[in-house]
Each structure stands twice: as C-alpha cells, then as structure tokens.
C-alpha cells in the first residue's frame, strides 16, 4: 500500500481497540519470567557450549603476539576463536570498527578472542589464561583538544555539515540583545539491562542466531556480510529484547563470535557480552561541545540563531547531530548550523535514544533560558513568542501539526509555573527550590514496514512481522491494530515478532516503530479484509468487520467462516511517499521540572516532573506514557549523573559497568505526570500516529538544568550537573 496522500476516514478511526490504555499483551509472560530472551532459548540446552569474550587491553595499536597454550589446555576448553584463525571476515554496513580485532586494534575492549568451553565457568577461567602482548600506538582521546582542528562532518541523515539562511553574522552582530555560550555533554552509555547476547547454531551452511536486536533485516544482512554468507542462509530471531535505546540497532560481537565459535566447535554456542566489557566494546552516545549564539530584539524576537557542534568518532565516521532541532524549532530570519567532527580512538559513537536532539536540546534549551533572562522575559513566554508554524528555512513548508505553544501553556498552568520565583529566592527548609522548563522536540520519521496476517477458521488473527518490541509496546499496539481492523477482540489476535523469516518491518529505532509498523499491519489487514469478504461472497467495500462477524446489510457471517476451507493469508507493506517532504512532521512537548538543592551540600533532588506532549494519535496511552516517563528518567540521568569518564591517556571509558556508570534509581525519580494533547495527524500514516519514544527524553535534561539555576542562581553549562561544579556558587548560608 502506497501512502502518498493524507489518510481519510478508515476503520482505525472507530477507536474501539486502538487508543485504549490496554495492558501489554505479553505482560503475563514478562512478569512471570516466562518470556524468553536471547540467552535463554532452550532448543540447544543439551548440546550448547559457552563463549567468553576477551577484550583488548589497549585502545590503539597491534597485537604483537598471542599465546593460547595455557588457555587451550584449561579444563573444558573446546576452541578459541581469534582473528588469526577465524578466516576472512567482512564488516557489516552498519559497523565502524570490526567486531573481532587483531592484529590491528581499533579501540579498547575490542574483542580479540572468544574462548569456548563446556561451561560458563570453564570458559571464563580459560579466558584469563589468554596471554596477549600488545604494541600500543598513540591515539586521540580528548574531544576538547580537537576543537578548532576538527573537519566538516559527513552528511548525517540528510543534514549537511553547514546550513545557512539569511545573514547570520551580520544579524547577530547587530542584535541589541546577544547570547554567546558554550555547552558540553559527555559520552553516554545505553546501559540497557539485558547485555548483548546470542546463541548461534549451524546446520550445514545455514546459520540460526537467537539474539537481542532492534533491526532484524539490517542485522541479518550484516551477519551474512561479516561471515561471507548469502543473506538467505542467515536466520535471526529476537522475540524479546531486554532494552536497546539504539545500542542494539546493529550487529555486535556477541552474534558474530557465537557464530564463529559454533562453527569451530560444531556445537551451538552462546555468548553474552560481560557487563564490564560492554561500555568500551559497544557504541555509545558521543560527547559534544556546542556553541550557541542567539540574537534578539529587546522585545524578545529572535533575529539570529547559530548552533555549532563538535563531536568525535572512530575514523571521524559519524557526527552527533546536535544541531538538527535548531533548524526547525524557533522562528528567526538569520540562521546557521555547523557540525564538525574529529577522529577519536575511543569505541565507536553511534545512535542512542534521540540521537542529535537529546544532546542538542540539552544545550539549546538552556541557551533559551539564558536568553529569556537577559530579555527579562518569562522563558515560557519567550518560547511562545518565537514559535513558527512553518519550516523556518523554507517558509512554504508548514508543519503538519505544531502544538508547542499549547503544550507550554497547558504545562505552565498544570505545574503551577506562576509560583516560580527569581533565582535563589525560594526555600523549603534546607532546600533551595527551583522550577525549570524546556521545549521537547523530535522529528517524526517513517519507514516502510511489511506484515503478514493469517485468519483461522476459529476466527483467530495471527500477525507475523520482523518488528521488534524493545519495551516499546509493539506487541500490544500491533494486536490492537489487527483487532480494530478485523473486528475481533484483542484476545483473538496472536502477534509474532522478531524473526527474519517474517516480512521486513520498520524495526525499532528513531521513534519510527509504532506508527510505521502498525501502518504495515493496517495494510496487510486491508488485504485480509478483501480476501475474507470475497471468500464470503460479499462486496469488500460494503463489508463491516465487527464483533467477530462480517456483515453486509442483513447478511452476517462469523469471521472464521471465511477460513473454513483453509487459512486465509494476506501480506502487504506500507510504503511512504513524499508527504514528509511537502510538510514537516515533528513531535512536540513541554517539560516542567521542580528540583530541590541542598543549601549546604549542593545535592540535587528532583521533586516533580511533568511532560505535555503532542505527538499525533496515541495508540495506547498506557504504553505511550511509559515510553515518555522512561525518556524523562533517562533525561534526568543525563542532567545529573550520567557520564562515561574518558581516560585521555590510555583511551577508554573508566567507569565501564553499572556501579561506575550511574543511572537513575527508584530513589532519584519522583512521580512523573504526562499529558497527551488530543491530536491526529493524517499526514503520517493511516494510523495518524507519530513517535513518542524519543520525544520524552528531548529537553528534559535542560529543564532540570534550568530548575537548578532557578533554585541556586548558579548556571552550569557542562553536563552532568554534579555538585562540585556549583557548590562554590551557592548562596551564602544564613
């Protein structure tokens, strides 16, 4: 089904099932420990062997020699895979560094060996006997040292490294009120709870990998490419994914090494990346240094907006697109953005939840707060004043929907924003109390997505698509979509996901999954409705699918009757046309945060959080709210604690486990409120939905930062906002 004109009324608009806050259909499995994740498939339990990964102890250089003798002689060892014995390996389209290093080493903890043994304990013990001698080369690890020398970034998702509209330099120079500030955001780890894990098994030259991956088709392709196999010889299964956040978009070492280990031992092999290995072995969100210049008239109209960002990556391959939102968020006739990138020899940087916008908004929305203060304007009002209903770079291109102002206004009212005082003026006992606001913004992306639907004579509808559910609610919203389309109760829908033998979906990433994958299921269900109606001798255009029946006028059949001579199967794909080029599709919101800062110690505690979101039709308000509060929580971490600390001499992230890399815990997160504005967007798909999974994180950290400023009067421009950065600026104790 081509989607190239805005949707009109369709069966989804009935909203009998879609749009309801349904419990997740896989909830009883997840809460009873019976949902099988990658490392837990039992098909090979009797014969499987265990792999343990050895990571490089240097960041850049060469393996001078490897001595495997002791490790090979250790009890239970079946094989040791290294680059020297693995045969020729390719590199996946989505990988930067190779997944098995040697002799060249590209980053710290790059895998250099897999020890395979009969038990996990034997493999682990033998791995400690692998002797590696390295020759270390000089590497570049310090982003701040590269500012000034960094080159233009490659084009990133259509964003040029330099953009310009009007005459920024002159307009900024002439602006009566100016802001010129630098901000920095550190490297972040996805730190999903389930480690990267795979079980690989060969039958002849056919490979099956149970793995934990967000993008099945991409990754089946990259497994094949890396191992030099035809793509059809690789089957990937990933029905449950214990968190991804972008860290499982691509194939990682666990899958490739499990396959190589299984080949070497002729047994199924399972490999989970050890937690202390993950943060240097797998991608991370790259650190940024950002410069923002804003020029405004005295009454608060922005006339000049400039945003530059520096980031680094292995081989200078991929920038962190922190300037992306600045091209679209606020009005202003003269604007520029620039992305520069340096070659760093840390593990590769790549996508993490809202790549670009998450760190970009951390800077831009603090700059807006600073500018509002310079202008003597309320930061809510300042943003409303600079709203735009069209793409500021191409005014003939309107937004399909843009309710940012309403989000800000409603949020301010609900949160009690009018009670916000001047900086460092509000106290509650020993606590300095402050409120902060930030806009939330993330583009809505769509990706072609296919599904197969089956109808049984019992009236059961089964959906098959390689879509993944990484905690996002895919199982449930896909079931809701099929139930709505076929007129059956939710209990009569079975959803099967994450299998590369199923039709290729959008996968999970870039907050495109919900709208795209359900639209693919919609398309397949349209075909199944036609097939069912024809089978029953009804005109498909007149047939009404409801209450488990198909009716035309007074003629009524049980839906299952259409399959009484055999299962009906339909398959289709939603293919997105150029609607997204004609009008800008984005999601909007407003974050409000109240913090308390200990007046003596500088300890920051978040007291209240509110997000108001406008993101198209909300397919399941319960799951969507969870996505947004999850983003708010990750944003709180980015604001206050998350930082991969770089050892700039040896080139690695020092705090590479869950004890050293701090993420928010229960005690850090108070009650979080989320309001969704009533919105449907016929430009996005027949579902009229948009993404919300990344909107929730965009802007949160800035709202926290602005609240800390309001509480203390101390402005911190370097994340995370830890107390050492402002304790000397706290108001005098009275």
């Amino acid at each position: 089904m081509k989607f190239d004109t805005p949707a009109t009324t369709n069966p989804i608009d009935q909203l009998k099932v879609v749009g309801k806050p349904t419990n997740r259909i896989e909830g009883p499995l997840k809460t009873t420990g019976t949902a099988p994740y990658a490392y837990e498939h039992q098909d090979f339990a009797a014969t499987q062997a265990y792999g343990y990964v050895v990571g490089s102890a240097i960041a850049k250089g060469k393996i001078a020699s490897m001595n495997l003798d002791e490790a090979k002689a250790a009890p239970g060892v079946l094989a040791i895979v290294t680059a020297a014995n693995a045969g020729k390996l390719g590199k996946g389209d989505f990988n930067n560094a190779t997944l098995l290093g040697g002799p060249g080493i590209e980053h710290y903890h790059q895998a250099v060996a897999l020890v395979v043994a009969g038990s996990f304990e034997q493999a682990r013990a033998a791995a400690s006997l692998v002797r590696v001698e390295y020759t270390r080369d000089k590497g570049a690890y310090d982003l701040s040292a590269t500012v000034g020398t960094a080159g233009k970034a490659p084009v990133l998702y259509g964003n040029q490294p330099d953009t310009a509209v009007g005459d920024f330099a002159s307009a900024f120079a002439a602006a009566p009120v100016q802001l010129d500030a630098r901000y920095s955001t550190p490297d972040h780890a996805h730190a999903m709870m389930e480690p990267h894990a795979s079980i690989a098994s060969w039958e002849g030259d056919k490979l099956t990998v149970w793995t934990s991956n967000q993008m099945i088709a991409w990754s089946a392709g990259d497994v094949a490419k890396t191992l030099g196999l035809p793509k059809e010889n690789v089957r990937l299964l990933s029905p449950y994914v214990g968190g991804g956040f972008g860290g499982k978009l691509y194939v990682r070492a666990d899958a490739i090494l499990a396959a190589l280990g299984a080949k070497a031992t002729k047994r199924p092999v399972k490999v989970a990346l050890q937690r202390p290995l993950m943060m240097n072995n797998t991608p991370h969100r790259p650190a940024t240094i950002q410069r923002i210049r804003l020029g405004a008239t005295p009454d608060g109209k922005l006339t000049a907006i400039g945003h530059e960002s520096w980031s680094g990556d292995l081989n200078a391959a991929k920038p962190e697109g922190a300037v992306a939102q600045t091209r679209l968020l606020y009005a202003g006739a003269n604007r520029m953005t620039a992305m520069r990138i340096a070659a760093l020899d840390l593990a590769e940087g790549n996508d993490m939840r809202a790549p670009g916008e998450a760190p970009g908004m951390m800077a831009l929305e603090v700059a807006m707060d600073e500018m509002a203060e310079k202008l003597g304007l309320d930061p809510v009002q300042f943003r409303i004043l600079n709203d735009t209903q069209v793409d500021p770079e191409a005014p003939s291109r309107p937004f399909t929907q843009r309710q940012l102002n309403k989000c800000l206004q409603m949020g301010a009212e609900k949160f009690g924003w009018s009670k916000r005082g001047k900086p460092a003026s509000t106290r509650d006992g020993k606590w300095l109390v402050g409120m902060g606001v930030a806009a939330a913004f993330r583009n809505n992306l769509n990706a072609n997505s296919a599904a197969r639907v089956r109808l049984s004579s019992a009236g059961i509808v089964t959906v098959e698509t390689d879509m993944t559910d990484i905690g996002t609610g895919s199982y449930t919203i896909i079931a809701q979509t099929a139930a709505e389309m076929m007129g059956v109760p939710l209990d009569n829908v079975v959803v099967k996901l994450g299998d590369s033998s199923f039709p290729v979906s959008s996968g999970s990433g870039g907050q495109w999954g919900a709208n795209s994958s359900t639209a693919g299921v919609y398309a397949a269900c349209v075909k199944l409705r036609e097939a069912a109606a024809q089978k029953l001798g009804l005109n498909p255009a007149d047939a009404v699918f409801a209450d488990g029946k198909v009716k035309v006028g007074r003629r009524s059949f049980a839906l299952g009757d259409a399959a009484k001579d055999g299962e009906l199967v339909a398959e289709d794909r939603i293919e997105f046309g150029k609607l997204a080029e004609e009008k800008q599709q984005s999601t909007f919101g407003a974050h409000f945060v109240e913090v308390g800062v200990d007046s003596a110690t500088g300890e920051v505690r978040i007291r209240r959080m509110l997000a108001v979101c406008a993101a198209g039709r909300i397919l399941n308000p319960k799951a969507a709210r969870s996505q947004v509060i999850g983003g708010m929580t990750m944003g709180a971490g980015a604001a206050l604690m998350e930082e991969l600390a770089v050892d700039k001499r040896f080139g690695f992230f020092v705090n590479h486990d869950l004890a050293g890399y701090e993420v928010p815990v229960h005690a850090d997160i108070p009650y979080q409120e989320v309001i969704f504005l009533d919105e449907t967007d016929p430009n996005t798909s027949p579902m009229k939905a948009k993404g919300v999974g990344e909107l929730g994180i965009c802007g949160v950290a800035a709202a926290v930062a602005n609240a800390v400023y309001n509480a203390t009067g101390a402005r911190v421009r370097s994340y995370p906002i830890t107390l050492d950065k402002f304790i000397d600026k706290l108001p005098e104790m009275t």
Partner: protein, 213 residues
C-alpha cells in the same frame, strides 16, 4: 582480558603512558601463577541440595557456579535474569529463606539446604501472584528484563516493612516503618530499570500494599 594488572594502569602505568604513549605492553595475569601445571584436569565439584519453588533439587556443580547460573543454566529457570553478574543491577534478585539476595553474588554451594523462591515460584501466566498482576495493570515494566528482579524485591520489601526492618529513610527507628512512597523507593533502589518504569513500579507495590502511591 580484564586482569588485576589492567587496573594497575594506575601509578606505574600512568607514568609510563604519560611519558611515552608508544610503548610495548605485556599483560600477565596473576590469577593462576603456575598456569596449566597447577590447574586440575577436572574442576572440583560439590553436591548441593536445595529447594527451589518448593521442589527439591540435588545438583553436582562446579564449585564456581553462582546461584544465578545454577538456576538459569542447570535448572533452566531463566526467569531470574543476568544483567551485570556483579551485584550492581538487581535483575537476579531471588528470595532465599524469606530474604532477597542478588543471586549472582552467591555461589550455589553456599545454599545447601536453603529454600529459594524465584519469579517462577511466585506465579504463572495463568495464576499470577498479586504483585505480578499489579505490575501488569500499572505497566510497571517495559522491556521486561529487570522485571522478575523488581517483583521478587517488591514482594520481599513489603515483608521487610511488615517485619519492622528499618531502612535508610526510616525517620524513627523506635517506630514500625510504614509503607510510604519514600520507603518503597529507597528499598527498591538496588533494582535498576533502565526503561524508567519507576513510578509505575511504585504504584504497583503501593497497590498491593493497599496504600496510595
């Protein structure tokens, strides 16, 4: 390979690296000083007997097997999750003789004679425990990987409060602790949820405890 020497990048290593960044590095582990000669051909095993979810098990295990891996790899009870294997995340929480522990930090052979309850022992998809049902209703999870640990912890937390065991946020140690939002959040803080379902988890626990979140 991560070895003790690796962390000794401190001191001497720092000086070397600081002075000359191109250097040959040899990393020699110290774990088994004599290498293969001293390694036994067959790792030592021991017999351990415990009850899991009411069923008696007797296992002959490599003495290095953690309680977590005994459950997951030997008894195929994979509901208990391995998130970090280092006692940092709480995904492996199980209840042993009524108290919650991180099963990754315990060797299986330490638990001879113990009664262990895992997520599978609390309820099944068709007969869920009240806490499991509350997690479903309040959407107290997303990806589901930390969930069994959260639920085992939650069940034990309510028992701890009932038993009068104080926490860091209990204001008055002479009074019985109450089921409050902060008591729940403090006691649950050893269970990380990266998806960020925290307020929903607290709502689920409060619901089971019969208090307002």
């Amino acid at each position: 390979m991560q070895t003790p020497e690796d962390h000794e990048l401190s001191r001497r290593g720092v000086l070397v690296g600081g002075a000359a960044s191109v250097a040959a590095v040899t990393l020699v582990p110290t774990a088994t000083p004599a290498g293969a000669a001293s390694a036994p051909a067959v790792p030592p095993t021991a017999e351990v007997a415990f009850k899991v979810n009411g069923t008696a098990h007797s296992l002959e295990l490599d003495t290095r097997v953690s309680l977590l891996d005994a459950l997951r790899e030997h008894l195929h009870l994979t509901g208990t999750k391995k998130g970090c294997d280092h006692g940092q995340c709480g995904a492996c929480t199980v209840i042993v003789d009524g108290r919650r522990i991180n099963s990754c930090l315990a060797l299986a052979v330490m638990h001879d004679g113990d009664e262990i309850t895992t997520i599978e022992g609390l309820g099944t998809p068709d007969r869920m425990h009240a806490m499991q049902e509350a997690f479903v209703v309040h959407d107290g999870y997303q990806c589901g990987y930390c969930t069994p640990g959260q639920i085992c912890s939650a069940v034990a937390v309510l028992d701890e409060i009932k038993a009068g065991i104080p926490s860091h946020v209990t204001a008055d140690l002479t009074l019985a602790p109450a089921v409050t939002n902060m008591e729940i959040r403090e006691r649950m803080s050893g269970n990380i949820c990266r998806c960020g379902a925290y307020p929903n988890i607290v709502a689920a626990i409060s619901d089971v405890a019969g208090v307002k979140a």
